[in-house]
Structure formats: C-alpha cells, structure tokens
C-alpha cells in the first residue's frame, strides 16, 4: 500500500524567490522564512518520496469565470509553468516535471466514488502557486507530481469544511492505493494577504491582524474545528482580498487527519505579508494509523 510520508504548507509569494538576488540585503524576517523553507525541503528529501501531490490555486491565470472548477485534478503529461507574464513580472524560474498519471487518475476516479466531483484537465499550465513552492521544495524537479487545483480566488467557493473533507478524502485515497509508493503532499495558501486591494501594504504598518493571531493560536492547539470556523469567505476576505487562500491550509489539515504538526513557524513582518510554515513528518502523520 502507498504511504503518506511528508506533508507541508509552503508559501508561494512570488517575491520570495528573488530575495537576496543580485547581492541585495536580506531582512532577518525573510532570512527566517527562507531558512524555514530550507528546513522543510530537507524534511521532504529525508522522507524519500516517490511522488509529490501538490495542492494550490490558479490565480485567474487560465481558469476564468466562464468555466471555473472548485476542485480540479491535472492529468496532462507534464506540469509546467509559470506563464511568461509571471516570469517577467517577478523574475520567476520555470518548473517542469512529469505528472504521475496513474495516481492522478486514481485520485480523480476514487474522488468520484467518495462523492467529490473533481473537474479534470489534460492541458493546463501552473502559475506561481505551484512553481514557487515546487522550486523551493524540489528544485531538481526529478519527482512526478499530481497537481490538485483548489479555487480560493474566484468566489463563490465551497465552504471551508469542504476543503477539509476533500483533504481527508485525498489522504484516504493515498493510504488505500495498492501501490508500494511513498507519497508527499505539499499545500500552499495565504494568511492575511491583500494583493491588488487597498490593504496590499498594510503589513508594513501592521504585520499581523487579530484574525492571524486567532488562527495561529488554533494551529498551536491543533484545533481544526476553530480553524474551519474562522475560514468563511466573508471573514477571510475582510482581512484582505487574497486571505481566502487560507483554504489551502484547511485542505492540508484534512490531509493530516488530526495529526498535530511536527514543526511550525509564524513570521509576521513589515517586509512581506505574514506567513506560516507547517511540516508533518512520516512518523507524525502515521502515528495513529500505524
């Protein structure tokens, strides 16, 4: 049977990869974030995964209001991106890796069995939501990926409890897959974040909001019910228009299926929007399932 060997929540802020480039100074907060991500990269490496399942959102890069999937499995031959305009705007590196088509199709069809009506795509691109975390976590791009797109940008989106339930179903599908494979899951999302709106620079004055503090306290208690309770679209959106990206964390908590995190960092900063890093190790994930 397959085994879940790593779970992490990794930021996809497209500014992060350029920090320190061309000899520019690196703030202590940014250093802390980059060191934390490096730590999680080492954790992923140590878990010896065969496959990475990656869950993130399309930023209205290709999916639009003419045909918007809440949840979508990508099953093309390869995962590649980001698009040219994101490479230009932020100086982003591309990521290009094979897709693990057997597991992608298994998650899709078993999802149907578990009453998840995934959309699917055989031709798509990924934006910075996938390319930034994957370049941080597996820069050699040598592992096959299964991309799961979660809409947390284009309302209406499903309620938070559905993202939690979906994460649990994906976990169950991985656990019950009859292949001797070690599977890692990487998720991405936002804390308070207002890119594009009037709160875009609020962190420069106020690095954390009351919502951030409440959510972080719930994370420290592993109080998933409280996390879900504070993840309504309206409550998150009021913090800043991209804050519903926290639904990526909620999906991750579904995958964890109750296991407390192994490592966590909370990094409020005046230099970039607040970010939380989370990692679960193989032992932590399988402690109650062994």
């Amino acid at each position: 049977m397959a085994r879940l060997v790593h779970l992490s929540v990794v930021p996809h802020d497209p500014v992060l990869p350029g920090i320190g480039r061309d000899g520019r100074p690196v703030s202590p907060d940014a250093r802390r974030l980059l060191d934390g991500i490096a730590r999680m990269r080492e954790g992923l490496e140590a878990s010896k995964p065969d496959i990475i399942v990656m869950a993130g959102s399309d930023h209205l890069c290709q999916f639009f209001f003419n045909n918007m999937p809440p949840f979508l499995v990508g099953k093309a031959e390869r995962l590649a991106g980001p698009p040219g305009y994101e490479q230009r705007d932020w100086g982003l590196q591309t990521y290009d890796a094979p897709i693990e088509g057997v597991l992608a199709r298994h998650i899709l069809t078993q999802g149907f069995e578990h009453e998840v009506d995934f959309a699917y795509s055989d031709e798509f691109t990924v934006d910075h939501a996938f390319s930034v975390p994957l370049n941080f976590m597996r820069p050699q791009a040598d592992l096959p990926i299964v991309p799961i797109f979660l809409n947390f940008l284009a309302p209406p989106v499903p309620p938070a409890r559905r993202y939690f339930k979906l994460g649990g179903i994906v976990r169950k599908i991985i656990d019950e897959w009859d292949q001797d494979k070690r599977v890692a899951v990487i998720c991405t999302g936002h804390m308070t974040n207002g890119v594009g709106g009037p709160y875009m620079l609020r962190h420069t004055q106020r690095p954390e909001s009351e919502w951030d503090r409440i959510v972080n306290a719930a994370i420290l208690r592993n109080d998933v019910a409280d996390l879900v309770a504070h993840s309504s679209w309206d409550e998150m959106y009021a913090q800043g228009n991209n804050t519903p990206g926290f639904l990526g964390f909620i999906f991750g908590y579904g995958v964890a299926s109750g296991a407390p995190f192994s490592w966590h960092d909370y990094v409020p900063s005046r230099m970039q929007p607040l970010m939380i890093l989370l990692e679960w190790t193989e032992d932590q994930l399988n402690g109650s399932h062994a």
Partner: protein, 96 residues
C-alpha cells in the same frame, strides 16, 4: 451591471500580450463589443481603478491589469494603486 464583462476585459489585457497591445493602441475599438454598459466602458477607457474596484471588479485581476498596462510591476506603481483605493470600503461580494 456586467461585472463579468469588466473582469473579462481585465483578464484579456492582463494575460494576453496581443490583446493588451490592441487595448492600448485603440481602446475605443477594443471595448466596443465587450458587453459593457456606458459606465463600465467609461471606467475602462479612463482606467478609473477606484470606480472599478468599488463596483466589485476582481482586485487581483484589476492589479494584474494595471501591472500589464504599466509595462511591469514596480513598487511606486503598487503604492499609487493602494493610495487610489485607500478611501473605498471594499465590497465584500465580488462574485459575478
């Protein structure tokens, strides 16, 4: 109101270099058949970011549209964008 049509113009310009060039070189022509009402047409012609934001245009699309027509992202452009939107109470419903 046709929020979808406004978002579609923002999306086309932000994501497609050829359509962005068409919008920039002949905006009246580009906007003519997009299903916009008179006010939306005015907003997109005047690049009236506060009015579009207040009407519920998608903020991330609006910003990437601005990045595109500004010739790329810059910190001063971001500061100006925030300054222009600062006095607006953000609409909570931006669904189409």
């Amino acid at each position: 109101m046709s929020r979808y049509a406004v978002n579609k113009v923002l999306w086309q310009v932000a994501r497609d270099d050829e359509l962005a060039a068409a919008y920039k070189s002949a905006p009246e022509k580009f906007l003519a058949d997009q299903g916009l009402n008179a006010e939306e047409h005015r907003q997109l012609l005047a690049r009236d970011f506060p009015a579009m934001f207040a009407a519920g245009a998608h903020p991330f699309l609006l910003f990437t549209f601005r990045i595109k027509i500004s010739g790329g992202w810059s910190y001063p452009m971001m500061v100006e964008h925030v300054r222009e939107l600062a006095d607006i109470d953000p609409p909570l419903d931006i669904s189409t």
